[in-house]
Every structure is written in structure tokens, then in C-alpha cells.
Amino acid sequence: MVGDPIVEVTGLRKRFGDVEAVRGIDFRVEVGETYGLLGPNGAGKTTTISIVAGLLRRDAGEVKVAGMPMDIDTAAPRALIGLVPQELAVYPDLTGRENLRFFGKLYGLSGAPLRRRVEEVLEVIGLRDRADDRVDEYSGGMKRRLNIGIGLLHEPKLLILDEPTVGVDPQSRNAILESVEALSASGRGVLYTTHYMEEAERLCDRVGIIDEGRLVAEGTRRELIRLVGERDRVRLQGSGNLSGAADALGRLDGVGDVVAADRSLEVVTVDAARLLPELLAVATEAGMAVTQVEISQPDLESVFLHLTGKALRD
């Protein structure tokens, strides 16, 4: 993931009348990386990616796509971007295939290459059987998939997805997330905005937490959790020598507090998944018969709460 960034944003600012929607945002997305902008509605996510995609004029700052300056009038970097807007940006009176062909032509595709890409994308988004039906006859999930498919047509180096699962049923949502995971695996950069913590945790290599137009923190999930001092907790239930087990566990590297309760021990650690086998071995050796294990890890929701003092879906 180390190399030239596909997107580099520095000092970005944008004002709408009296409202400063973006207040000096900096971030970069590496080639092959999935970068998430996580924040509540109205945080400035859509404004930020609209500027990155060249749709809105910025008031200050700089945006580079693959090293090329991006502005409202520049055409070249746009060819590298596939945009999936939050709204269903498709024509309901055209068929799925007609929609794909139209947008493909705008990206310079024609003839056999256009036909080939349309068929490939229809296959990827699972609409081959309904390709010649009008879009207004599609279900909501099918329209969402077509919306994403249009962004993939020209095989962009960077895919920008603006809250692609808003208003989608759970089944379609899962299908969309799987598609994004597959796209990430294919090596292209993905810039993904969401206010769903689970999506950011599942999809993103790095997350930028955005609130009131500012990027308040940035990093991998673990980096963010560490940043705010949150730890994993492992609850061991069982019987036997609980106090001896507590002493032994407390002496291990990477273990913070160990709190004994009635029939359980709660171990605070920096990385529960890595230490779990060792915790079990040490507790058993100290004479505790472990019957049940529970791991609770802090999530981005708690990070967001810690950083901003409010919940993601306030």
C-alpha cells in the first residue's frame, strides 16, 4: 500500500453561504487502498468527495488525482475516477443496458470494447438477465447495483462511493459490501463515505473520522482505538483457582488490569485476538477451569463518541 497516492487532498475548504461545510481537510488514498470517510449526516463527507470528483469548486486547498490537479474544468483526471453518487444516478426510462452504454460512451468507450465492458459489468452486478428491462421496473437493490456498475464501466483507478447502502434492504446491502470488497481486492483505490460504523470497519483499510467539516482523526481501526486509549476486554468464566489465575494473567506482557468477579475474570488487553491462546494457557495452568470466553473489542462507534462527544447517528 505504500507508493504514490491515487488521491491527495490538502487544506480543503468549502463554504455554502454562511455555512463552512469543509474546514481544512487533509488526507490521501494510496493505490489499492480502501479509505473510509466516517461521519454523521451533514459532517461534510459528500461535499469533500464532490470536490475530489471535480463536481464542486473549492474555496481553498488542493486536490490531486494520480498526481494531476483536479478542478471543476479539468477533464483528464476524471477519466481515472468512477463516481457512485448517493442518489440513484440512473435514467429510469432507459434499460439497464442502455444506461451502461450511454455512460460508457461518455468515458470514451465505443464499439466492441464498449459491448464487452457492458456485458462484464452486467455480470459483476448480477443484472445480465434483466439488462433489457427498463430501470423503473427494477427493485431498489437492483437500481443500487446498476448505480455502482456505471461507476465501474471504464475500469477506473479510483472508485468513489458516496454512502452506497443508504436505504437498501439488508440482503442488497450485503451484496453491495461484497462487491466493494471484491473491488478493493482488485487493486484499485476506493474512497468510501458512510455513517455506518460496521461498513467502515468491514471495508476500510484506513478510516478518516469527519465531523463538522473537520477530519478529527485518521488511521487503521486499531490505530484509532489506540489513539483514544480504548482496550479489548476478555471475560473468562469458570471455576477453580480464580485468584491464582488472576495473579498469573496480571504478570503477562500486554495485559493491563485483571478484575476478579464471582465466577469470572475480566482481562483488559491491547490485543485480545493475539493474546487469547496465551491467556487460556496461563489461566488453566494456574488452576482455573475455563468454561466460557467472551471478547469485547471497542469499535469505531466508541472512538467517534470519544472524539466528538456524540454518537454517529445523532
Partner: protein, 392 residues
């Protein structure tokens, strides 16, 4: 250019599929023109024919002259004429409503005229037919003026003769009566430059609805912004002006096709007479350009498609009324006639009226220039606004 055609092709496909362009662009103006023509046009043109009678009790040359004038009007189907033998018969027919007016030429009328004595021509009018009576009076006055001109000519000629005889007087009178008038007025600016009823209403409705028809293209820009597809178009690697240009191309094409179909259909079905085809084509091309400009400037300053449609409707109706597409406002002259020139509709109708006068391409240039001025004044600011429109 390739991208403009691609976007325009997509828009045209959408417009054909939703069918509204056919309803608003073709069906509505044609049906309204037919209705207007049926309600206002046909009856007044087909049935108004004054019913006159003449009772010639004189049988002299001057009385015969008037009867001859009336006969020629009857032969031209301008009036319906009965010739009767008595005053009582005339008065009874007028009283019964069988006649609108009657001319009574009293006995001795010719003798009185040629001898310079007072002569009276009597008109019996039906009080329920004031227009026909007014026409009868106008005919009588016209004939009296002609007789007076002959009397004057004879008097002038006799003064130049040292000792004229009765025979000289008769000869001079006969020559003066057959002389052509020294000044003949030929109206080429009014009567000949008025469109017939069918053409007036078809043309009026066509240009009125044109300002709605062309909105399909340009206002589509606002619809795309609301739907989110404008963001996708703006994100594509195409020149920023291509989207706006495509919308204007669609507006223009739809407008031209709608007008062309209406011109042909109304000519074949309603017997409308549009005039020289080349002149009409140039006039239509300029009218569509002005309509696209007006719609574009509305779209440029509106926030939503709904707001644009409402504004567009208000402006189209106002310009239509000022421009006289429902009734000819310029015939009254004065302020209304001047105000009408602030409407592209008026320039279009003026151009058609010029063509109806028998002119070709040469007579429509002033109207074409007026329409193109509207197009330029509206399109330039519209292009600036639309080009800088943010897609979300």
C-alpha cells in the same frame, strides 16, 4: 461534438418514450387551433353577406349606374341583391326582416343630377342589421361622391367653352363618367398583410406552444440535477459546456420538428396559408432560437425544474398575450402595438403577415432580425448561468 450528440441522442430517446413531447408540441397546438378556427373563424367568414334590394323608379342613366354598381357587388358574392318595383314592397321586406337594407332611387333622380338640381337617394335600413345598413350607406356615399366628381369635371370643362350646347353637356358628362379616377389607392400594407383566420390561429397556437415544447431540453438540465444524473454527467471526462449544449440542441430540434409538422398538417388539413416556404422556414428557425433562449434563461435562474416550469408558463402566456397570438393586439395601434414588439411571438406573427402579403424571403428579414435579437439577448446570459451550474 461527439459527446453533445451522445447526450442529445439519449435525451431525445427519453422524450420520445415519455410521449409528452408529442402531446405538448404537436397535439395540443393543433387541436386548439382547430377549435379556435371552428369557434371564431369559420362562421364569421362563411355567413356574413348583407341582403340588399334596389327599387329603381328613375330608369335614367344615373340611377342605372347605381344599379350597375350593386349588381357587380352581387356578382362578386359580396352582397345578396333583389331588384323590386315599388317602395312599398321594399319597406315591407325590410320591416319583415327579409332585407338588411334597400336603395330607393326616386323618379327623376337622373334628371335632377344632370340639371344640377338637388337629388335624393333614399336608403331603407333594418334596425336589427346595423352593420349591413352602414355598408349600404357607404356604398351610396361612394356612388354620390363619384357622381359629384363627374358634375365637377363637367362644370370645369363647360367654363372653358365659349357657348356650350346641351349636346356638349351630355358628351362631357358621358366622358367624365367613364374616366378612370386620377388617384387610385391600392392597399398593400393592411388588408393584404392580414393572415386568414385558420392560419392566424394555427400560427398563434404553434408559436405559443413552442415556448413550452422547447423546455423539454433545457429544463431537463434541472431535472437531471434533481435526479442526481447531472453529477454523473459532470464527473465524466467531457467538456463542461457539452451537457448544456446538448440540452439546447434537443430543445432546438424538438421545436423545429414540432413547428414543421404543424405547418404541414395545418396546410393540408385546415387549408392554412403560411406563405413562401423558404420564408416560413427561416422565420420558424429564428422563432425556435428565440424560444430556446427564453427557456434557457428561465432554466438558468430557476432552482428546480418545477420552479422553471411555473416561471416558463407565466412568461409564455404573458409573451403570447402581449404578442397577440390569441387576438391581434397590434391592430389597435398605440401603446399595445409598441408593447407587442417586446414579444418574440409578435415578430413571428408579423413575419407571417409579411409573407401573407405575397412576399418571399426578402420581406421576413426584419422579423427574423427581431427574433434573433431575442435569441442572442437571452441565450448569452443563460449559457453563462447554466455552464456554471453546480451539479448538486
Amino acid at each position: 461534438m461527439r459527446f453533445i450528440l451522445t447526450i442529445a441522442g439519449k435525451d431525445l430517446r427519453l422524450r420520445v418514450r415519455d410521449r409528452s413531447v408529442f402531446v405538448l408540441g404537436l397535439l395540443a397546438p393543433f387541436l386548439l387551433a382547430v377549435i379556435f378556427d371552428l369557434v371564431l373563424g369559420a362562421p364569421s367568414e362563411a355567413t356574413f353577406q348583407p341582403r340588399f334590394a334596389v327599387a329603381d323608379l328613375d330608369t335614367g342613366p344615373v340611377g342605372d349606374g347605381l344599379v350597375g354598381v350593386l349588381r357587380s357587388l352581387a356578382e362578386g358574392d359580396v352582397i345578396d341583391l333583389d331588384e323590386v318595383g315599388s317602395v312599398d314592397e321594399v319597406e315591407a321586406a325590410v320591416e319583415a326582416g327579409d332585407l338588411d337594407a334597400a336603395f330607393v332611387i326616386p323618379a327623376g333622380f337622373s334628371q335632377a343630377v344632370t340639371s344640377g338640381a338637388p337629388a335624393t337617394l333614399r336608403i331603407v335600413g333594418n334596425v336589427d342589421a346595423p352593420i349591413s345598413v352602414a355598408i349600404a350607406e357607404a356604398v351610396a356615399r361612394g356612388y354620390a361622391a363619384e357622381v359629384e366628381a363627374v358634375q365637377l369635371s363637367v362644370a370645369v370643362a363647360l367654363q372653358a367653352m365659349p357657348s356650350p350646347t346641351v349636346s356638349d353637356v351630355a358628351t362631357l358628362a358621358a366622358e367624365a363618367a367613364t374616366m378612370p379616377p386620377p388617384i387610385e389607392l391600392v392597399d398593400v400594407t393592411a388588408a393584404n398583410r392580414v393572415l386568414d383566420t385558420s392560419t392566424f390561429f394555427v400560427a398563434g397556437m404553434a408559436v405559443f406552444f413552442l415556448f413550452f415544447t422547447v423546455s423539454f431540453g433545457v429544463v431537463g438540465l434541472l431535472e437531471e440535477r434533481q435526479a442526481g444524473t447531472l453529477a454523473r454527467l459532470a464527473a465524466a471526462p467531457i467538456p463542461r459546456y457539452a451537457v448544456v449544449a446538448a440540452k439546447m440542441v434537443v430543445s432546438y430540434l424538438v421545436g423545429v420538428v414540432a413547428m414543421a409538422v404543424l405547418v404541414v398538417a395545418s396546410t393540408l388539413i385546415l387549408d392554412a396559408r403560411w406563405g413562401d416556404p423558404v420564408g416560413v422556414a427561416v422565420l420558424v428557425a429564428a422563432a425556435v432560437a428565440s424560444a430556446v433562449g427564453v427557456v434557457a434563461v428561465v432554466a438558468g435562474f430557476a432552482r428546480t425544474a418545477e420552479q422553471a416550469s411555473t416561471l416558463q408558463a407565466i412568461i409564455a402566456v404573458s409573451l403570447g398575450m402581449i404578442g397577440g397570438v390569441f387576438f391581434p393586439t397590434n391592430l389597435g395601434g398605440g401603446f399595445l402595438a409598441k408593447l407587442a414588439l417586446a414579444s418574440p411571438h409578435r415578430w413571428f406573427m408579423n413575419g407571417l403577415a409579411d409573407l401573407a402579403g405575397g412576399g418571399g424571403l426578402g420581406v421576413v428579414w426584419p422579423s427574423v432580425a427581431g427574433l434573433l435579437a431575442f435569441a442572442v439577448v437571452t441565450t448569452v446570459p443563460a449559457l453563462y448561468r447554466l455552464r456554471t451550474m453546480e451539479p448538486r
